[in-house]
């Protein structure tokens, strides 16, 4: 059993349609890097230059915002991670 990462509707185009990806990793950053290895196109969306998290993305772990140091946030097997994005329309 790994970490369950829930993929946003708009990102399933990068994950062969997968809405939930199971990955390993002790931090959010490690999990996302593993996702980037498996789905390089998604990786390009997730990370900005210097490996920073895309600033329009939001990460929630077990129902709570992982802000501000999302990538360093420690996680364990069985945790739920949601990757979503900021909305700005009105």
């Amino acid at each position: 059993m790994g970490i369950k990462v829930h993929v946003h509707q708009s990102h399933v185009q990068y994950t062969n349609g997968e809405r939930i990806i199971e990955v390993e990793g002790h931090t959010v950053g490690a999990c996302l890097k593993n996702i980037a290895v498996k789905y390089p196109e998604f990786g390009k969306q997730i990370f900005e230059k210097q490996g920073k998290l895309n600033h329009l993305f939001e990460i929630y772990v077990n129902g709570e915002s992982a802000y501000p140091k999302e990538l360093e946030k420690e996680i364990k097997d069985g945790d739920d991670v949601y990757i979503t994005r900021l909305l700005s329309g009105g």
Binding site: P68, Y82, L87, S88, G89, G90
Partner: protein
Amino acid sequence: MLTKRDRNLYDRQIMIPEIGEKGQERLNQAKVLIAGVGGLGSPTAFYLAAAGIGTIRLVDYDVVDISNLNRQILHWDGDIGREKVDSALEKLSRLNPSINIEPVREKIREDNLSRIVEGCNLIVDAMDNFNVRYLLNRSAVDHQIPLFHGAVRGFEGRAMTILPGQTACLMCMYRGPVPEEKSPVIGVTPAVIGAIQATEVIKFLTGVGQLLTNRILLFDGIDMTFKEFRINRNPHCMHCGNIKGKE
């Protein structure tokens, strides 16, 4: 004091124990600012006017464009080319002539916002960009009045209520500037989110229920789900980090 007409007009909501005559009086005395009379501002203003909010100040500098009509339900075909605040004023006064509508045709800027907000009990964020949202957030913090955040894209929307100094604000989650974009959107999405914002406003004014504070509600119309995530106040927040809310 409620008039006989008020008692008839608002009969069905006065029947709700959480509102009652006392709650209705509070709504009648309230003055709210709705920033933006577009997709979110239309349903919010409609429902707040129908609920009998005493004064609604509407701010928008834009004129009605044909591409607005799929979602901005205060504006109709015959309004194309008309100022949005005028179009909104007409519809809302016809819906409820017993309330005051104050149209402000201005673009919200840092140097006019304080004047625009003056005298209002709260701000509804019905904007379409984060640059102005952050100005509204700052202003809500400065004036110590709540901000009712809403945003939409496609079939997706979100809402959060902010009590400055007490609960997480928009800047508490700041991750850098958000580029302005022309968002795809279907009218039902701002209808859902605007109705949630209006619900929160009514609850705040009447003092009932659990507000959507320190949690963000995400609506997904494709999956037809609502998800809620906890948001924490940031002690280093550039807007609210140094202030304590009034109790």
